[in-house]
């Protein structure tokens, strides 16, 4: 290996500190610089920091984020989140492998141009199936379309390079200080039938001479309102536009950025648009600044919702502290500090009935009083923003859109329990959330809402952001603590609970993002107002990421007690494409399925639990009759099995053996005894795993066996009723074939011979069941059996 220049490592360690707890940040910086973790760099870290080889190797191989080998110039992230999965992400992944000639088990093509990786969730479920190439997102992919995507990306790259922009380097960039235009969801615009928007914006910038970036970013909510455009000003003010059309591009640019007169004259002397602008015509899209709630679908979408954690959604500038203040921001904190004792706050939270929104639903006030009652020289506060469920991005949206609200909730909590130092653990894949929280923390500290002597009360709170590195298990509180302490994110046996023995052995309060976000509203509006929403045991609202086969997908906040069906029908607009609802998967990999016949049941902690699922963190995926429940169970188990920390036998090996059985079933190799063995093992894993990940991992399996046993039995009989499991289906062409040859042209493996004006045939031996022929056939003559 060539000698690497390790002075960077020295600088990083000097900047971040030599303590063992800094290992994650050091590794992230090293990878950011080199693109991976060269062993020489790690050895250097061990020499100059208080980090042992065993520790650095243990940590760097635990988290998904870290790579130990160089990658290709571009990284293709194929989203395998739930929504993408049900819409064929696996086939897209395989199509990329084929297109790039990447062998199974390998991840980079021969030219070291592209590395392909699966990613748990890009958080753009409306675009399913979606991929991200470097920072560019493509949506609604089909196996047939991957070539177009790669070509488009390379063309785009060349055009970027031609304009002298950075073509590679760390993908987490700080925002351009000249401001930038962010395309909501990256290529929502592209995917939502408006692919020209990007070009139009680029052109508008070129025409007007405004030198700023058009950058693709993640979702901020209202998914079905895409394409969303966010304009970020040099001072970090941002403006959000929904359903933007290409012709709006120039107007948006003109509204926000000072156009250089000379450039304008030279480059746009013939531009008609310029004339329009010069006549001071009011740019139309500005009215879309606030999404128009009178639109019929929007009204339905919003009608059932109740915004507490997402209060002022769509109108508030995430990082503008004055705007937050003008919307009652930090009033709750002030009220707590000036008018309420800690006991009063706890009593108020108790009366509100607020329960942990991270999944388990533990009463929030109990955690708070447990930490408060502990005597210790130091106490800590942690905000769990390590949202990792595939198909869930509620916390990201909250962090990106309402950073002050979360910070206010945390500050109130810290004041109540007596914590002086807090940690904001944010999933590493959420750079925008990290950026905004960081900015908001700075602004809040400037105004005296954070830091020393908050609001002159003598109470101090210092917050630090810890970026997670990709380990779903770190959502478990004891694993989260291990991770903050710079160790492998392994959960430990509770008791002792963190309230007693948490970070560095001190009493520690850990709540989820959404829990903290609900607190200011409760303090301002009173516990009774919160408790008036919901059911007897589950109060207030819950944010869900609604995805899957409904018409209107997106992030929703609904009152507890609403029925699953109301969410699907009223909020989601029902199942798309005229198909029937089969089940709703609630709670992601820890949850289970609510079958259509139980969809009338209310959404609350106890009801969901009683039917074998759980609230979870808030993923909600609607499934229709074309979804295979065995495949869904396999999908979720594959996720949890992959994310198991590996500590206890039942989770480490038990989930693997469960997955073995499910894979056998989906491959048509299942035996009669398999269903029983799977069920028995699932119960064993549920009862005997050490932490929540293992205890809940069997839920998707047990609930699908409970409600869809017939589908399991069909798989034993080598049949997939939904036509999903590749090994159990065959594609054939019916007499409806019009001989158009489209299928033959598009088949990636030449399994269909070209026979113009004749009925085509599929060679079952060659067919890889990618579904392309079915997709391109204009006569619906491709049948799946």
């Amino acid at each position: 290996m060539d000698e690497l220049d390790l002075t960077f490592v020295d600088r990083v360690v000097e900047r971040l500190g030599t303590a063992a707890e800094n290992v994650l940040e050091i590794l992230q910086a090293v990878q950011g610089h080199f693109g991976y973790l060269p062993q020489q760099a790690l050895e250097r870290v061990c020499r100059i920091a208080q980090i042992t080889p065993a520790a650095i190797v243990g940590v760097s191989t635990f988290y998904d984020q870290f790579r130990h080998h160089p990658v290709g110039r571009h990284v293709i992230h194929v989203c395998v989140g739930t929504a993408c999965h049900v819409k064929g992400a696996d086939r897209v992944y395989e199509a990329f492998q084929r297109r790039l000639g990447i062998a199974k088990g390998d991840d980079t093509d021969a030219n070291k141009m592209f590395t392909i990786e699966k990613i748990a969730c890009l958080g753009c479920c409306t675009l399913a199936p979606a991929v991200q190439i470097d920072d560019v997102t493509y949506g609604h992919l089909s196996p047939d379309g991957v070539s177009t995507v790669i070509d488009d990306f390379l063309r785009y790259e060349r055009s970027r390079a031609g304009r002298g922009r950075k073509t590679s380097g760390p993908r987490i960039e700080s925002s351009d200080h000249r401001g930038e235009i962010r395309l909501g969801l990256g290529s929502c615009c592209v995917a939502r039938g408006s692919g020209k928007l990007r070009d139009a914006l680029e052109k508008a910038l070129g025409d007007t001479g405004v030198k700023i970036n058009v950058k693709r970013v993640g979702c901020v909510g209202m998914c079905h309102q895409t394409p969303l455009v966010e304009v970020v000003m040099p001072d970090n003010k941002s403006f959000l536009y929904a359903k933007v059309l290409p012709q709006d591009a120039k107007a948006i640019v003109m509204r926000h950025f000072k156009v250089d007169g000379t450039t304008r004259r030279i480059s746009n002397s013939l531009s008609q648009v310029l004339d329009r602008i010069l006549t001071d015509e009011e740019p139309a899209p500005v009215t879309r600044y606030s999404i128009n709630v009178r639109d019929k679908p929007v009204a339905d979408f919003l009608g059932r919702q109740k915004h507490i954690a997402t209060e002022h959604h769509g109108v508030i500038d995430p990082v503008d502290i004055d705007e937050y203040l003008s919307h009652d921001g930090f009033k709750a904190l002030e009220k707590c500090i000036r008018e309420m004792s800690a006991e009063d706050v706890i009593a108020e939270v108790e009366r509100s009935g607020l329960r942990g929104r991270g999944g388990a639903g533990y009463p929030t006030h109990r955690k708070w009083s447990a930490v408060r009652s502990r005597q210790a020289d130091e106490k800590f506060l942690v905000c769990n923003g390590d949202e990792g469920d595939p198909g869930a991005f509620m916390d990201r949206m909250l962090m990106e859109s309402y950073p002050y609200r979360i910070i206010e909730g945390m500050t109130i909590a810290a004041y109540t329990v007596g914590a002086g130092q807090g940690y904001f653990y944010i999933r590493g894949e959420y750079p925008l959330a990290t950026e905004r929280i960081s900015q908001a923390m700075e602004n809040a500290a400037e105004r005296g809402f954070l830091g020393d002597d908050i609001l002159g009360s003598g109470f101090s709170l210092h917050l630090k952001i810890v970026p997670g590195a990709g380990a779903f298990v770190c959502g478990e509180e004891t694993a989260l603590i291990a991770s903050i302490e710079g160790r492998r994110g392994m959960p430990r046996l509770r008791p002792p609970y963190p309230a007693e023995n948490g970070l560095w052995g001190r009493p520690t309060l850990i709540n989820n993002v959404e829990t903290y976000a609900a607190v200011p509203w409760i303090i301002r509006n009173g516990a009774e107002a919160f408790a008036s929403l919901g059911t007897s045991t589950s109060k207030g609202t819950k944010v869900f990421a609604l995805a899957g086969k409904v018409d209107r997908v997106g992030l929703i906040e609904v009152p507890m007690g609403i029925s699953v069906r109301q969410i699907v029908e009223d909020v989601g607009g029902g199942i798309a494409g005229g198909l029937r609802l089969k089940a709703v998967q609630v709670g992601g990999p820890s949850g289970g399925c609510v079958p259509a016949e139980l969809a009338h049941l209310p959404v609350d902690y106890e009801t969901l639990q009683s039917i074998g699922t759980m609230m979870g963190s808030g993923g909600m995926v609607a499934l229709d009759e074309t979804d295979c429940m065995v495949d869904i169970a396999r999908y979720f188990l594959e996720f949890t099995q992959n994310q198991s920390c590996g500590k206890c036998t039942f989770c480490r090996i038990g989930t693997r053996r469960m997955l073995d059985i499910l894979e056998r079933l989906c491959a048509g190799q299942g035996g009669k005894a398999d269903i029983q063995e799977l069920e028995d093992l699932a119960r064993m894993v549920q009862a005997t795993s050490l932490c929540g990940l293992g205890k809940t991992a069997p839920n998707p399996v047990l609930s699908t066996i409970k409600y869809f046993r017939d589908e399991y039995e069909a798989h034993v009989a080598k049949r997939c009723p939904a036509g999903k499991c590749k090994a159990l289906i065959t594609y054939s062409i019916t007499d409806d074939c019009i001989g158009c040859t489209l299928c033959a042209q598009h088949c990636p493996v030449d399994a269909i011979a070209m026979k113009p004006y004749q009925k085509h045939e599929i060679d079952a031996e060659k067919c890889i069941r990618c579904g392309t022929c079915k997709q391109v056939c204009p006569a619906e003559a491709v049948k799946v059996q």
Partner: protein
Amino acid sequence: MPRLFVDNREVEVDPGATILDAARKLGIEIPTVCFLKGYEPSTSCMVCVVKVNGMASLTPACGTPAADGMRVESECDQVRQARKAALELLLSDHVGDCMGPCHVICPAQMNIPLMIRQIQQDQLRDAIVTVKRDIALPAVLGRICPKPCERGCRRAAVDEAGEAVSICLLKRYVADVDLQSPKPYLPACKPKLDKRVAIIGAGPAGLAAAYYLLQEGIDCTVFDDHDKPGGMLQYGVPEKELPRDVLAREVALIMKLGARFQGQTRIGAALSLEDLRKDFDAVFVAAGADAEPMGLTTSANGIAINGDTYQTDIPGVFAGGDAVRKRRLTVRAVADGKEAAASIGQYLTGRTVTGPVKVFNTRIGKVRDDEKDAFAACGSDERRVILSHEGNGFTDEQARLETSRCLHCDCRKTDNCRLRQHAREHGARATCYKGERRPFVQWVQHPEVIYEPGKCIDCGLCIQITAGAAEEFGLSFVGRGFDVRVEVPFGRSIAEGLKHSAAQCVAACPTGALAFSK
């Protein structure tokens, strides 16, 4: 001082004590694999799970603090099932053979790898003890055995020339050296039990049964219609293959143990099975392929027996050897004699007749092409030793050389592996859960210690030890979840990882993952 109940017995423990401590104080044995006193409980194997306060989920006793008023159940059905499942899951991901494949395939279940190491270390007296623990006539079999063990020998599967270790000749070498010694090995016999067994047939099965029954303190009289003992060994096998003096010397040792031989006595009209049943406490029918049924129920293979216990349908009458089998193999007959002797011993001492104790074993199975080098790591590169003259046995030197080819497939911790111990005690099935097998790996760079990651249960004790011993590299978990492995950081060798703490790690390792190479 918390007071709690374990299996309804009250106990008071020091603050900070765990449920496991409480149970131990009461003398209640809770099985543990990953836990070791003095180290941080890793709560990983989950074999020590117990039920607390009737809750649906179980908790590991090793790491759960004992709390006042707690009610712990350590022996209920749910707990037993969970323990068994934990062991079965661990075993489903265990790449290791408790016993060498040669040992398992040998019908007499002779501990071949142990014998080979004893030869290697020049402990021939120990070697003959090992051999005769399972084979009563090793010098004989060393000449005529069709050696199924060599078909199982892994060396053959990984050897460039496909040549197994010459196990049979090594066994013959051990037996010949012993027979030619001034005082050939005679096992110690237990005190007499005042029980008599009639053995019908002085062939390999009958002689073997006598050999093992005598060691149990049980008198044996062997009846045979010929005048010399040996059965088909005496009257069937050509002299060229089996010189009769070898047979005579080996049989003489059995006689020396106290067996009575009554030749020229055909069991039939004059002296019937019924008569023998009256005069003796038990009868073992080993009259060979042409045995008369003597009123016993027969099957297609001969006299019908219970396959585990060798019992016929008449109480106190056992049968074995060629009389009960279609496929006739001397080594099988010798094994039958040994196993029937175990059953007869149980019968005569009033115990439940179960046959020989079944040993617990896990197996790796077939060697894959890409694993050959890994498996070959512990054997020399020598070619199979060729005998200078057909019919000769090994010289001392040849025997030593041949033993160097053995790959040491059996586990180095067969007798002190906690996984094996508890698997046996809980009746865990090694192949209960089917999954893809990991590749076989062994790290052999350390002068004293061998590391087999396939046997690791990820308890992390060695990681705790190396961290505590301030090893420069030590050991670390690498990866996560099902793929987590214990390795030396930065791809260093096991020798670099365990500079100071090797012995401590070997002692702590609950399985054969870390073991002394010799």
